[in-house]
């Protein structure tokens, strides 16, 4: 049985594990590009054709043309910011960057589905969600430039700090949702009070015990949390079939949660599916699991070299599924956007790139004593002593110059 046969027998688009297990000489070049299979929800095809969906169209019909143009603007600006950050890394201004290239629709669609009072728990790649929550993009650069470990106020934007430990934030999100329940901020019917939580994670994270435990805790507590998995097909070098025997959204059923797979490159479908899941959570109907089927077009981070483990033909297939192009085609075809709008967004993107670059370069290094500043919230004798020792040591250099 060839890999292609297995792939055809697995319309879910994963699960080539049998062939991999029995093909020791298997190489990346044999791996067919995954597609989401018939169960994947899609309302906008890669060619920009709108597919009717009786379940989701009522949500999408509420969107004004202006809201649709905002989607497009978000996608373009976020991609431009991401490209600028990658360039800054290549020029030595950032130590590392984790690009979101290809995942813009999954992040913007879900990010725009959030209500102001909702709370998002990101990984380290959710630059598009941060954008939707109003976090200054330059703040996202701090940890990659090495001037802080994040440092924005999570409460100011209801957007938690980036979490590097894979999957840990799914438990934090669940605990936050348990707090929401205890605050009586779920199921009241008040749209400004009822609160949902969204936990972002990737396909690799689904192998972490924390993710399974968070599904257990959320399930038994009926907590208002949406588990939003961006399946970008690759956990650094390890493809889906190294992480799972079943399509990821099907994991949810074992925990008693509804699970759904959505085309992660279709911003409309992602928005509608996430919006429905969040509404359900806020209404007290409990947690759910959304698998956004997408693709990491770039490297895992700027330190990674994907040519060692995947072939360019796979990337080429996914280029044709680009999230921005299909929205542009549809907006133009429907007359919801014109060339002047596209040009204005392009100009705005260039301005954003220039501004991000300028402000990144202007970021000061922290004072040496900053490392002692917030280790403890209350006075601590070791911090006081070591700060004094550090200052005395540093002062010795100044004196030595005299």
């Amino acid at each position: 049985m060839s890999d292609n046969d297995v792939a055809l027998a697995s319309p879910a688009g994963v699960d080539h594990h049998e062939s991999r297990a029995t093909s020791p000489d298997h190489t990346a070049s044999h791996r067919p590009p995954a597609d989401g299979g018939p169960e994947m929800v899609q309302v906008l095809t890669p060619e920009g054709q709108r597919v009717p969906n009786p379940d989701l169209d009522p949500i999408l019909d509420e969107l004004s043309d202006e809201a649709l143009r905002v989607f497009y603007r978000d996608l373009v600006l976020v991609r431009r910011f991401d490209a600028e950050a990658t360039a800054l890394q290549r020029q030595g201004e950032l130590g590392l960057w984790a690009s979101l290239l290809g995942q813009e629709a999954a992040q913007v669609g879900s990010g725009r589905a959030l209500a102001p009072q909702d709370f998002a728990f990101p990984t380290y790649r959710e630059h598009g969600v941060a954008w939707c929550r109003g976090v200054d993009p330059v703040n996202l650069l701090g940890m990659f430039r090495g001037v802080n470990h994040g440092g924005w106020d999570p409460k100011a934007h209801n957007f938690h700090l980036y979490t590097i430990i894979i999957g840990a934030q799914t438990l934090h999100a669940t605990g936050y949702a348990m707090g929401v329940q205890r605050d009586g901020a779920v199921g009241t019917g008040d749209p400004t009070r009822d609160t949902a939580v969204i936990a972002y994670f990737g396909d690799g994270a689904t192998s972490q015990g924390d993710v399974s435990e968070s599904l257990v805790f959320a399930g038994v507590n009926n907590s208002p949390v949406v588990f939003f998995c961006q399946n970008n097909q690759w956990a650094i070098s390890e493809p889906n079939e190294k992480q799972t025997r079943v399509p990821l959204y099907q994991r949810a059923s074992g925990f008693g949660l509804p699970g759904i797979r959505v085309d992660g490159n279709d911003v409309l479908a992602v928005y509608a599916v996430t919006r429905r899941a969040l509404d359900s959570a806020r209404a007290g109907e409990g947690p759910s699991f959304v698998e956004a089927f997408t693709y990491r077009m770039g490297a895992h981070t700027t330190s990674d070299d994907p040519t060692r483990y995947r072939v360019s033909a796979e990337v080429e297939v996914w280029k044709h599924r680009d999230p921005i192009e299909r929205l542009k085609v549809w907006l133009m075809h429907e007359g919801k956007a014109d060339r002047a709008f596209l040009d204005a967004v392009a100009a705005e993107a260039d301005a954003l790139g220039a501004s991000v670059r300028e402000r990144c370069l202007a970021m000061p290094d922290p004072d040496g004593t900053a490392m002692f500043d917030h280790v403890y919230a209350e006075p601590h004798p070791v911090m006081e002593r070591e700060r004094a020792e550090f200052l005395a040591y540093e002062a010795g250099f100044a004196d030595g110059g005299n």
Binding site: P154, K155, L171, T174, G179, G209, E213, V216, H374, Y376
Partner: protein, 332 residues
Amino acid sequence: MTQTTAGTTAPTTTMAKAITAGLRAAMEKDPKVVLMGEDIGRLGGVFRVTDGLQKDFGEDRVIDTPLAEAGILGTAIGMALRGYRPVVEIQFDGFVYPAFDHIVSQVAKLHARSLGHVIMPLVIRIPFGGGIGAVEHHSESNEAYFAHTAGLRVVSCSNPHDAHWMIQQAIETDDPVVFYEPKRRYWDKGEVGTEPALGLGDAAVVRPGTDVTVLAYGPMVRSSLQAAQAAEEEGRSLEVIDLRSLSPLDLPTIVASVRKTGRVVVVHEAPTFLGLGAELAAQITQECFYSLQAPVLRVGGYNVPYPPSRLEEAFLPDLDRILDGVDKVVGY
């Protein structure tokens, strides 16, 4: 009921019940205090420390969690981010390791990572130590792992009064506190006064003396006091200090004692290699070098996995091993 020095009546109670009362007081005072753990609700915990609290405060505030320590700590972090003050019970010392990542990578670091925007006012209660004839993983002293982690405070109570007040002080602290409860002393009785008298970071001179300073905490405080009593009959005066706070250390109290006695024995159940005694020896050497009449000596567990319970008497420091240590520093 007995008279305290303050002239008020102080009830005599077990350490376990003193902690229960402390938790109850904290929950009555602050509605954001919630308890989380395995079997802490209907059962009242395997040591009954949370006995009756779910009945009085409800299932939303005394939460019987799924059996998953990483999940307990991870969700407690989320609760804290929402403004709650979770008090987590780890059922036994040896069960904390699945939660280790959340404690050291998240709880300890979130305040710093957020540049002070976020606080993590968690208390992680861990019944610890041996001497109860338990099976494997139920008798460990793993405090050094957490004392080594910046961002955490680590304390241990040794008597009902301290247990009652220290748990309340730990809950009121905006920093995360790992709270070690010496499980073999849960049923020791003592008076609980109406005021704490000391801050959470303070050590206590529990028996003044002049010849040797004995530094102990948790279960070894009682053993050290017994040793001091026996030593007195031989004409030796031991000053016993209950460290109470393991991180940070109350160095001024320790240094003042060592400068007086010139001799130190550190006692803990944990293996001595890179244990708290090693840090104490280093700090004391640095601060009291010219006062020392002998090297700082450690009496602790051997550097082996906690042995089967039939061997724990040989493994654990006791009165005789403490006195042996005292003999060595006096005869040096």
